[in-house]
Amino acid sequence: MRPDFSVLFLTTLIGVGQGLFLALFTVQLYALFGLLPPQDGHLFYAHGSLLALAFLVAGLVASFFHLGRPERAWRAAAMWRTSWLSREVIVLPALMGTVLLYGAAHLAGWRPVLASLPSGIAIDATVLLGGLGTLLAFALFLCTAMIYACLPFLREWASPLTVINFTLLGGASGFTLAAAFAGRVAPDLVRFFAGWAFVITLFGLAGRIASLVRNSRLRPKSTLQTAIGIKHPQIAQKSTGFMGGSFNTREFFHGRPAGMLRRVKWAFLITAFGVPLALQGACWSGAPEALLRLAFVVQFLGLLAERWFFFAQANHPQNLYYQAVA
């Protein structure tokens, strides 16, 4: 498939936003149970939510560049019963709204106690909003990944690993950003976030390698024989029926030499996983927190390359019909 930069930015940017929000609420949950010191609502949660929201909005803006008719984008919420894309279109604004409310509640100090646990821990409105946002963040990972994983004949995508990797990679970049953010506003959380970012990045690396191994072993189900229904071992295309290009020759192939695919694979393995792991590990053991900002930038660029590869590697069966121009 041809990697479209709007979709690369959409999936990576909202992944960061989701991961950052999950990181913020993780701290609040830890603080709720007394495992971490409580953080300043205004400085930490409100600013953090604003940052997460900025990434979500940037992703949404990027997605519009993918549409031929962006002015009709509102229609995309209609078919949520059948379409994962439609579900994503509903869940993304819902998450954005929840993150906005979560940040606003922290900013305004609006924390009415709604219930209390038997141990006396008070569940206030921000915990409820945070819990709702967590559900929506995971639902959004599911929707975004299922857009790709639900297409059975794009076999590189049609796997639970797609959902797992979208979740882990979004989470990893979000927690790395949270660590860099904490370096500015809550230095006592830097090690906490760096440690989690390291763990999630490590799991993400495992998931991505599992997916690479799986995809390298795939054997195509569709062949030229099933494509035109002629049972002969030797079939060669002589003409696609036109000499110029068409949508079919442009949309479904990355148009780069095979060597570039290999280079991008190694590039993203190093930049999305190798370098960030080293930097996160270094910061966890006490290196200056400025390295985390570098880790986030490198990891984000690496994830863009990872998403490029994710698209470029997927081999659409329609390409069987476009093997030779003439």
Partner: protein, 243 residues
């Protein structure tokens, strides 16, 4: 419930592209607006087509067959392009099974084209919406046309009658009979899309030449020698005829 479809006879198709040009002509002139045709005389012409004729060579020289293969939307009975559409623009009509795109609802996200294993949807580069074969839905129900012309433009244009049009759910229709009699098959059955369009395979046209066709038994030059000679005493033809 009926399911309109095309049946394409690969045994008959000569690859003349008349179906391609007639399709483009009809669908670029219709009420849905023109189909893009960019730089038609330039170095790299492009545009939207609903129908293409591709050519494949089967076998190894000198035992080869050239197969011309027309490809358009197969109007699947279980179309994977329909449920993925976020707006409902891509839909399958319950009445006749035609898969259509509502150009006024399409947002041009191209997701349906990703979900089609056959690559028969093309985005219109000018209108920025997804387009595809409509089975000439604006023609087949047009009562202003004579009944014989209420068929898709490609079917009417085909000079060798390689394209048949009808309801594959009606066992007596011309398409159902053709599928039954000539072993019509669907494309890429492995994905469970149940395409409605079927293709009729190449058939051998065997010719049996018998001895008596090389040397005719009724050859008047040979007849005398083959027949038993009557004896002199036997009645002649004149004896038989003159009663």
């Amino acid at each position: 419930m009926s399911q309109l479809a095309l049946v394409i006879d690969l045994n008959v198709c000569v690859g003349c592209h008349a179906c391609v040009t007639s399709c483009k002509e009809w669908n670029t002139s219709g009420s849905a607006g023109p189909l893009a045709d960019l730089m038609p005389y330039g170095r790299d012409p492009t545009g939207a087509f609903f129908n293409r004729v591709q050519t494949f060579e089967v076998g190894e020289y000198p035992n080869t067959q050239t197969v011309h293969f027309p490809k358009s939307c197969l109007h699947c009975e279980d179309p994977p392009c329909v449920p993925v559409c976020p707006t409902g623009a891509s839909h399958k009509r319950a009445s006749d099974g035609i898969v259509l795109v509502d150009y006024d609802k399409c947002i041009g996200c191209k997701y349906c084209s990703w979900a089609c294993p056959y690559g028969v949807r093309e985005i219109d580069p000018e209108r920025k919406v997804m387009t595809k074969c409509t089975l000439c839905v604006d023609r087949i129900y047009d009562e202003a046309l004579p009944a014989a012309e209420r068929k898709p433009a490609c079917v009417l244009a085909c000079p060798t009658s390689a394209r048949l049009f009808g309801d594959i759910h009606d066992p007596d229709s011309i398409v159902s009979q053709a599928i039954r009699d000539a072993a019509g098959y669907p494309l890429m059955p492995e994905w469970g899309t149940h395409p409605s369009n079927h293709y009729l395979p190449r058939r051998k046209t065997p010719m049996h030449i018998h001895e008596d066709e090389l040397e005719r038994v009724d050859n008047p030059l040979k007849v005398d020698g083959l027949l038993p000679k009557p004896a002199k005493s036997e009645p002649s033809l004149d004896d038989v005829m003159s009663w």
